[in-house]
């Protein structure tokens, strides 16, 4: 307790409750704060130790091959990387999918499961703000996951004294690929996670849906290729979100295609791009619609 003799001698005073007179920031700040917290949450930062294992393990899985490739290229004195930038993304797309499956439920299902939504909704934040922040956070988390190994490849290539411009162009294409793939996968992953409040279900549901789409798209594509329907075969790649983005990259930045057929010509390129934009906008709109229905209690 305070007393005169205590002045200046390091006594702890219980100053009681203090009222807050400072600024109260608006919705923009709330969205940024939720975005930052959710992005940190995607990597388990500010969460329990257990939550950090999976995301960082996957970041390691994504990055280690890039570092190894760069070192090997440097030691052997190669004049270009054994695998180009965009192809690297699709070679490791299953790690990206697993990251999405693990972290999309951690990003949105968690607030439904623990019924934290009413706390957000009882603040000035709107439902759309919530969706925007979560979509942004999930996309950024995926972008980081893909862009870090791309950057490792680029730095490795420069250290191995490869030519600057071809590598810079490849790196830029890789970052574009990271950006587009993040937006597409986040939309789909969050949408599925937002209707599965149980985290375990969410993980399983995201994996299952993406796996099914890959299988169906691959089987149909291969079947039509065998039956000399090359164009049809190319269009079946639209069904798989990963090959959809790959198709767009093949058209826009001349990336190599691992599918039987790349999208045919300009028309194909436009169709792939249009479908990709539709998937992004559509999953965002559906997510917003889903959150209009989330109960405030």
């Amino acid at each position: 307790m305070s007393s005169d003799s205590g002045a200046g001698s390091g006594v702890i005073h219980d100053i009681g409750f203090r009222h807050y007179e400072g600024p109260r920031l608006g919705r923009g700040y709330l969205i940024r704060s939720l975005y930052a917290d959710s992005l940190r949450g995607c990597y388990g930062l500010g969460r329990s130790t257990k939550s950090k294992i999976m995301p960082f393990l996957l970041l390691l899985v994504m990055t280690a091959p890039a570092v190894i490739m760069a070192v090997v290229a440097g030691v052997l004195g190669l004049d270009e990387l054994p695998l180009d930038y965009v192809s690297y993304i699709f070679a490791l797309s299953s790690a990206i999918t697993i990251f999405l499956a693990a972290q999309a439920p951690a990003t949105v299902s968690r607030d439904l499961r623990f019924r934290t939504m009413p706390l957000y909704l009882s603040r000035p934040l709107t439902r759309n703000d919530y969706v925007l922040a979560k979509y942004g956070a999930m996309s950024t988390a995926l972008f980081i996951l893909i862009a870090v190994p791309q950057t490792a490849l680029f730095i490795g290539a420069l250290l191995a004294k490869m030519e600057f411009w071809p590598n810079a162009k490849g790196w830029a294409a890789g970052l574009l690929g990271a950006f587009l793939l993040s937006l597409v996968l986040s939309g789909i992953g969050l949408l599925i996670a937002s209707i599965t409040p149980r985290r375990g279900f969410g993980v399983a549901a995201v994996i299952t849906v993406l796996l099914l789409l890959t299988l169906v798209s691959g089987v149909l594509s291969a079947l039509s290729y065998e039956n000399d329907q090359a164009a049809l075969s190319a269009y079946f790649a639209l069904l798989n979100p990963v090959s959809l983005v790959q198709g767009v990259l093949v058209w826009t930045v001349n990336a190599e295609s691992t599918y039987p057929e790349p999208p045919p010509g300009t028309l194909g390129g436009l169709v792939f791009t249009a479908v990709m934009l539709l998937v992004i906008a559509g999953s965002y709109a559906l997510l917003a619609a889903r959150y209009r229905k989330v109960s405030a209690s």
């Binding site: 009681g16 409750f17 203090r18 009222h19 807050y20 400072g22 600024p23 109260r24 920031l25 608006g26 700040y29 709330l30 704060s33 939720l34 917290d37 500010g46 969460r47 329990s48 257990k50 939550s51 968690r110 607030d111 623990f114 019924r115 934290t116 009413p118 706390l119 957000y120 909704l121 009882s122 603040r123 000035p124 934040l125 709107t126 405030a296 209690s297």
Partner: protein, 356 residues
């Protein structure tokens, strides 16, 4: 409190005008009208009486079917965001992510109320200390007891220094000791911190200990809206509990000129002045019994319903006939409950006698 007094003066904390809410065929709130000045206000009703619906409407999250409400002078229908910036809300249900620590979570919620990072950090530490969470605040909340969870829920509603707290069943699920601590905390927030609040509970007994004003709803209808000061000043009662020979003690007190009636395992003595305490102690000492409890009890609402017909809602000519019938039925319940459970009124099981 008279209608005339509530209509004048400063901005009402909450004013509700002919408010109704229907979900399809179900009527959750039915034509409520009341106004409350800033203070600690209790909203009492059985489970399903419409308390949570009322809070959702006051937060501007649920539109009223008819009628309207104002919170801190703001219209819930049009000023929802402004209201939500100025109030703090503690839900009845669990709302804490298990994988976060209390510090991380309250800090996040402070920022979600618009506090800049530095201020949010400072106030998070202060607020957690005020609600009584110390070292455990760095642990994941998944392992918290109900009492600790309730404290964190309260902290997140308090951290941004709101102009009004809306607390939905803050004592829910707490044991008697935890309940007393929570009520003491709420009393401090109301008086020392000076933050007005609306607290809901299905137990009238606990709210009348801390509230300046009580609003009673049942089946979506307003039974009464009244100041506890008006009510509790009417009479003063000493509650006495002895370890044995209660009858004998009662007779001795009667012989000493005190007005005594037995109430369950306690004796109630009318408090005339300070000499009453001396008389009680004399009797106890003479008989050589152990004294467990000697406390001044505020008059209970249930007793008011019983003994003072002038405070009955029907005399205010505002309740409907159906409302009167419901009021009478509820009074009867409470009187019975008070008689059955008087000794441990605060730890009766939840959802026990307050349901139909």
């Amino acid at each position: 409190m008279s209608e005339g007094r509530t209509r004048v003066g400063q901005v009402m904390m909450i004013s509700v005008e002919n408010l109704s809410k229907r979900y399809g065929a179900v009527t959750a709130l039915d034509g409520l009208t009341f106004a409350i000045e800033p203070g600690v206000v209790g909203l009492v009703g059985a489970n399903g009486a419409g308390k949570s619906t009322m809070i959702k409407i006051l937060l501007g999250l649920l539109p009223a079917t008819t009628g309207g409400a104002r919170v801190l002078g703001l219209d819930v229908a049009t000023d929802g965001p402004a209201i939500r910036q100025r109030v703090g809300y503690m839900p009845e249900h669990d709302c804490l992510p298990a994988d976060m620590s209390a510090t991380e979570f309250v800090l996040h919620m402070a920022r979600m109320s618009g506090l800049p990072l530095t201020a949010a950090r400072e106030r998070t530490a202060d607020t957690l200390r005020h609600v009584g969470l110390y070292e455990e605040r760095y642990r994941s909340m998944g392992g918290y007891s109900t009492g600790m969870k309730q404290r964190v829920k309260l902290a997140q509603s308090l951290v941004h220094d709101p102009g009004l707290l809306l607390l939905d069943e803050p004592t829910n699920g707490l044991d008697p000791a935890g309940r007393d601590q929570m009520l003491e905390l709420l009393r401090r927030i109301g008086t020392e911190f000076g933050i007005p609040m609306l607290v809901t509970s299905h137990l009238l007994g606990e709210l009348e200990q801390i509230c300046d004003h009580i609003v009673v709803v049942d089946g979506g209808r307003l039974l009464r809206s009244t100041s506890t000061a008006d009510v509790t000043s009417a009479s003063r009662i000493l509650a006495i509990e002895v370890d044995e020979r209660m009858d004998e003690v009662g007779r001795a007190m009667h012989a000493a000129g005190l007005l005594v009636h037995p109430a369950g395992r306690q004796l109630e003595v009318e408090l005339v002045d300070d000499s009453t305490y001396d008389l009680v102690l004399d009797v106890v000492v003479q008989l050589g019994v152990g004294l467990h409890r000697l406390e001044r009890r505020r008059h209970r609402m249930a007793e008011i319903f019983r003994v003072d017909p002038s405070l009955d809602p029907q005399s205010q000519a505002s309740a409907s006939t159906a409302g009167q019938a419901a009021a009478a039925a509820l009074q009867q319940q409470w009187v019975t409950a008070a008689q059955n459970h008087r000794p441990q009124e605060s730890d009766q099981p939840r959802g026990g006698d307050d349901e139909q």
